[in-house]
């Protein structure tokens, strides 16, 4: 008996749990991917994102929870019956077949007649600009070409969802941007649905319609890139999605209004939801702090890196608070100068003082 639901989501996960021995890899994941949506799951290694992808593809089965694909319950369905394909990190191209043979594979095993495969294979190779390489051997291809063949192979029979398992991490850095462009372009043109796994936050922010941040098998936050970047709900999310200065502060209401004391200055807050009382941890992104002739506190420039269009300046306040500040366009402040720092109260990400930022786990 097939359970059928009238939902329009391409992928729906309900309460997915998975344990390996004593370790909990996935601790109750619920998420939905709409048709034509790009959902990016980011997280440090060991956060469970690869296991989650395997559960969607059917190579792993969850200990509990349900996998729905295109309105059909697929939890117990073997991988070869599921309407999804994976683009693997190591490409996983078949070495004994040529480019066209690899791309034709999903059609061949589905029983599509040889004559009918040809135009579909050509079309898929066209999408990834590999038409002219149809008869090359796999071991003569470059990494970027291999990844494009793997992509064509995953797209050739138009799956309901394409699972991308860190598709760019094995590529040379200079190829990544181009491949990401291609992935984005194809998604738009063909209306594809992606479940994209990566540990690279820039990749995630760039391609995701929505981003889910996984940590220790839990989804800490899921939402549009701007939202998870600008309004992180946990210190881990704030820390994982971009560079951030962590300062310790104190919840300090003044005159009936909430406020924060950090680095020897008092910042009144308006419209901030309930603040944790007592000591707090305050995150300030380097680009949200401005150097100027006036501001909240004074600090001394400790070091300065010049990048042409911007500078990265490290400053130290009288209270020994250290901050990294990105200035675009470049600031002229020199090492040893005293400067004023300013920031908007809304730029402060305030968490309980003991909130984990996970910085050791993904220190770069």
């Amino acid at each position: 008996m097939k359970q059928v639901e009238t939902s329009t989501s391409a992928v729906e996960l309900r309460g997915i749990r998975k344990e390996f021995g004593e370790r909990t890899i996935l601790d109750g994941i619920d998420l939905t991917i709409a048709r034509g949506e790009v959902l990016v799951l980011v997280g440090p290694s060991g956060s469970g994102k690869s296991t989650l992808l395997k559960i969607v593809s059917g190579i792993e089965t969850p200990d509990s929870g349900e996998v729905w694909l295109s309105g059909e319950c697929c939890t117990q369905m073997p991988p070869y019956l599921r309407p999804v394909h994976t683009v693997f990190q190591n490409y996983a191209l078949f070495p004994h077949l040529d480019v066209a043979g690899n791309v034709a594979f999903p059609l061949a095993v589905a029983g599509v007649a040889r004559a009918n495969r040809q135009p579909l294979v050509e079309q898929a190779l066209g999408w990834v600009h590999m038409q002219r390489h149809a008869h090359r051997r796999i071991d003569t291809l470059s990494g970027g070409e291999k990844q494009r063949v793997a992509l064509a192979r995953a797209l050739v029979d138009q799956p309901k969802c394409v699972l991308l398992d860190e598709p760019l991490s094995a590529l040379d850095p200079h190829l990544r941007a181009g491949t990401l462009d291609l992935l984005q372009e194809l998604q738009g043109e063909l209306g594809l649905t992606y479940l994209f796994i990566t540990h690279d936050r820039e990749e995630a922010l760039r391609i995701g319609h929505r981003i889910g941040v996984l940590n220790h098998g839990r989804l800490e936050q899921i939402g549009p890139p701007e939202e998870v970047y600008r309004r992180p709900q946990t210190a881990f999310v704030a820390s994982f999605l971009g560079k951030i200065n962590w300062l310790s502060g104190q919840s300090a209401p003044a005159g009936g209004r909430p406020g924060i004391g950090i680095c020897g200055c008092h910042v009144p807050l308006d419209g901030q939801p309930t603040l944790p009382a007592g000591p707090v941890k305050v995150g300030l992104r380097p680009e949200d702090v401005h150097i100027g002739a006036s501001g909240r506190i004074q600090a001394r420039v400790v070091s300065r890196l010049f990048f042409g269009d911007s500078t990265t300046i490290r400053v130290q306040t009288a209270d020994d608070c250290e901050l990294v500040v990105d200035q675009r366009p470049a600031s002229d402040a020199a090492v040893g100068d005293m400067v004023w720092l300013d920031w908007s109260p809304a730029a402060m990400h305030i968490f309980a003082a003991d909130a984990g930022t996970g910085e050791k786990e993904h220190a770069k």
Binding site: G58, H85, H96, F105, P106, V109
Partner: protein, 262 residues
């Protein structure tokens, strides 16, 4: 310069082959064309008699039986070794080492003892029959098939099977379309390693066959015993010719594969 040096490195092997293989083989061929000496050995006089005997229906029948036996044993070994190699390939390094030891353990005892052991194990009805001989040979040669297959399985990365399943192949399709073609060269090597010695086997057909299963190996042995050296030499030459076929096939295969990967 470099190619000259490396060519010299092949010299010991070339000498070895010339002195110990081509030499004796020529002697065997020469013996088959001489007259029989009544007390064994040959009489230095040309005779086509041995080859007339060696092309009669009895000799050809025995050769056909030998090819059938070697083919059957090779096929049975392929069927047994594939799942075995697949299981071994997925084990942890330590467990694999343990199982390889268990698998090759019988090889550490004498062939004669093992064969006598089989005489006790085998149902009486199987003794002196071709299937009985085939069974014992299959068991005896299994490691020679498993080892090259296991080596080939190392190339058939498990992620390739996952990819095949992910792309819609049933487990059976994944085997035929991915695992099998990738491991085929190992299967060819293993088949040659089994087929060639089995077609020349003497001891196991002699004991298990109980004198009722005549194959090329026993034929050669018996006629040397019966002091008909020219006929025995002609049979030995036949056997060499039979063995050359699989060697040729696997050589062509290997060279094709080598040039393809270049």
């Amino acid at each position: 310069m470099k190619s000259l040096t490396t060519r010299w490195l092949a010299l010991p092997a070339v000498l070895y082959l010339t002195v110990l293989f081509l030499g004796p083989t020529s002697v065997v061929l020469a013996y088959s064309l001489l007259k029989r000496d009544i007390y064994g050995g040959v009489h230095p006089e040309f005779s086509g008699n041995a080859w007339r005997m060696a092309t009669d229906s009895i000799t050809l029948g025995i050769l056909a039986r030998t090819v059938l036996l070697a083919t059957g044993v090779t096929a049975a070994n392929l069927l047994l070794a594939y799942p075995c190699a697949a299981a071994l390939a997925r084990m942890s390094r330590e467990r694999r080492a343990l199982w390889m030891l268990i698998l090759s353990f019988p090889m550490l005892t004498s062939l004669l003892l093992r064969t006598y052991g089989w005489l006790n194990l085998l149902p009486l009805a199987w003794r002196g029959t071709l299937p009985g001989v085939g069974l014992v040979l299959t068991c005896n040669y299994l490691p020679f098939m498993v080892l090259p297959l296991l080596k080939a399985y190392e190339r058939a990365d498990r992620s390739l099977v996952w990819a095949a399943l992910d792309l819609g192949a049933t487990p059976w399709q994944a085997f035929w379309r991915v695992t099998f073609p990738i491991t085929l060269s190992g299967a060819v090597s293993g088949a040659a390693l089994v087929f060639i010695p089995v077609s020349g086997e003497y001891l196991i057909p002699h004991f298990i066959g109980d004198g009722k299963v005549s194959v090329a190996g026993t034929l050669v042995m018996e006629w040397f015993d019966h002091r008909h050296w020219p006929y025995a030499a002609a049979c030995a030459a036949w056997l060499a010719a039979v063995v050359l076929v699989p060697i040729g096939v696997s050589l062509v295969w290997k060279s094709r594969e080598l040039s393809a990967t270049k």
